[in-house]
């Protein structure tokens, strides 16, 4: 849990992933043959195999956040979103800047909660004037949502599980992976929440034959929710389709058969809204056979997200076995 805690606590809004990258490189270095960071900041870590086939497995390092766009003369900060941020999900939550400054997200008094937009919100860092605020933060500074990390039974509450849990899974798979047939590229991407540009450029560089994307997905098991087959605790979610891609039927089949062969608990994911790095990877260059294994999560893109470590363990197992056994 220590590694997951460290990962989720690291400061890494889209475009500023260095702190997260440093932790990942430290952890994964002993288990791979080559590591590099490319121009945009993606980490590409290669564990050589025996054949010339290449598998790319990816998780994104960045998290959603906010960026200061204006400082009022009374010291209040106005901001814009980094990635998709629901104003209702962050109201009265705390944000933290890289330099440690924190603030409360509040709304203009006269604005109704039901019609809330981001421009109706502001951050109060306790400054009484513009000058005082400017001594602590500047326009263009990024902040993330402060969260606590708590393990309750098998379930973890934390911010940034999207997609630090994916990064954690990739690291664990790298640690457990022995005798992989193909070359495996553990890819930790940048800027997924904003532009998925990290996925595009890393896939272009790697030119994989096959790709498996690891990211969180919703569940359909909370009160009065939209129907969705994914349930927390029902295992690794093999993606069928999301808003940005359809998993290649051959890869979906391979994941299914591998899960069945090793008795790994699994279920199927169809995500109506939302896309992942897969949307860029599968159409890179001449096309990549792409699939995804998702972690069922609740309260995604809020300051406290939730996953079940039994599901996480199932994803790690399924990913590890897939990386070991795949060769076209």
């Amino acid at each position: 849990m220590e590694l997951l805690n460290k990962l989720t606590a690291a400061f890494g809004p889209s475009g500023y992933e260095d702190e997260v990258a440093d932790i990942i490189i430290d952890e994964i270095k002993p288990y791979v043959d080559e590591i590099k960071r490319d121009r945009l900041g993606n980490i590409i870590a290669l564990k050589k195999g025996k054949t010339s086939k290449k598998i790319m497995t990816s998780a994104h390092m960045d998290q959603i956040g906010v960026m200061v766009s204006y400082i009022e003369k009374e010291g209040y900060l106005r901001f814009t979103n980094v990635g998709w941020v629901d104003p209702h999900a962050i109201l009265y939550h705390i944000v933290r800047f890289k330099n440690g400054v924190t603030g409360i997200v509040s709304k203009e008094d006269k604005k109704e909660i039901k019609d809330l937009k981001l421009k109706d919100l502001y951050i109060d860092i306790g400054a009484c004037s513009k000058e005082e605020a400017e001594s602590k933060v500047r326009i263009g500074d990024f902040a993330v949502f402060k969260s606590f990390f708590k393990l309750v039974g098998d379930r973890v509450y934390s911010g940034a599980l999207d997609d630090r849990i994916g990064c954690y899974i990739l690291i664990e798979a790298a640690k457990r992976l022995k005798d992989n047939k193909s070359d495996v590229y553990f890819t930790f991407t940048v800027q997924e929440e904003t532009y998925t540009s990290g996925a595009a450029t890393s896939a272009f560089a790697i030119e994989p034959d096959m790709a498996v994307v690891i990211d969180v997905t919703d569940t359909g098991d909370t009160p009065n929710c939209n129907a969705m087959a994914v349930k927390m605790g029902d295992g690794a979610a093999i993606k069928v389709k999301d808003g940005g891609m359809i998993c290649h039927p051959f890869i979906k089949k391979f994941l299914e058969e591998t899960a069945e062969k090793y008795g790994i608990k699994h279920q199927y994911e169809i995500l109506v809204g939302g896309a992942t790095d897969g949307s860029e990877i599968h159409v890179s260059k001449t096309g990549v056979l792409t699939g995804a294994i998702s972690i069922p999560s609740r309260y995604v893109h809020t300051p406290e997200e939730l996953v079940d470590m039994k599901d996480v363990e199932a994803v790690i197992s399924l990913l590890t076995k897939t990386l070991e056994e795949w060769e076209k």
């Binding site: 279920q267 599968h282 159409v283 260059k285 001449t286 096309g287």
Partner: protein, 347 residues
Amino acid sequence: MDGKELLFKLSNLNAVSGSEYLLKNTLSDAFKDYVDDIDEGNLGDFIAHKKGSSDGKFKIMIAAHADEVGLLVTGIDERGFIHFNEVAGIDPKTLPAQEVIIHGKKDVYGVIGAKPPHVLSSDDMKKAVKIEDMVIDTGLDKDEVLKLITIGDFITIKREAKNLLGNFMTGKALDDRSGIAILYECARELQKMNHYADVYFVSSVMEETGCGGVSTSTYKINPQIGIAVDVTFGDTYLDDDDVDGDCGKGIPIYVGPNLHPKLTEKLIEVAKENNIPHSISVSPGATGTDAWEMQIQREGVPTLLISLPLKYMHTSTEVIDYRDVKTAGKLLAQFISEIKDGDSYEL
């Protein structure tokens, strides 16, 4: 086989976005007599290559997308009814009382239930049925269903292509398999012609889902000219400015930023000089077709777009006039034969 026969076959095949590779055998069988080699892209795109005298120096890629709109299984309830959602662009209003095929471990027949008028109130009948309120009834009980069907299985409407009066025909997936028929008619015309350019007939993937699968075929082939062949609205019974086609009256040729101005001019000239019925359609921005992705691959691909007028798009009762398919095939073949060594299309 003739083009209409191929189109009937293609229309009756079931391949929703992502499963386009299922068309491969039928396409290989058809194109093999008219091309020099056949290849498959990583994502299931089909590529048939007919050599030209340029010997690989000048390549023209013509693409029509293979995927059809469809549904997929999202859940199986306690009573064995199957819940579903759309894969891309299906109007839920076309679904009640339809017959479907679920492509599970084997193909399973089902119907999308509809309440009979006797039990509906007049208020009920004023509202469109929502997709989440529909289920598929296979007549099997839950255990039998679970043996054959899993969440994520694709579903297509059960429909057989048929002729209507005159040159009209109807079937599902005419968007854009009739485009593939156009490619086939073009390949047959080219048999009797000499041409400088190497021609790549491509059946592209994932157009309906907006994933831009044609980018992978374009990247692979790296052509000097890319031509997208899609369908457009032929619903002239509507008083709508966006309806730019008229079945049986000719092929819309597109102009606008997505299309190369000099090549488009040449295509229009070829149509005029050969008395090929055509019209001009204008697209101020994205054309909503494979042309959009093709144009910006690698260092850029000069792109053209022609469309087939089609009525009732994205339903299982699409209607086209087959003469338009032949006309379009002829237009493309004539255009290809007029691309000569040394021609310049520089801007």
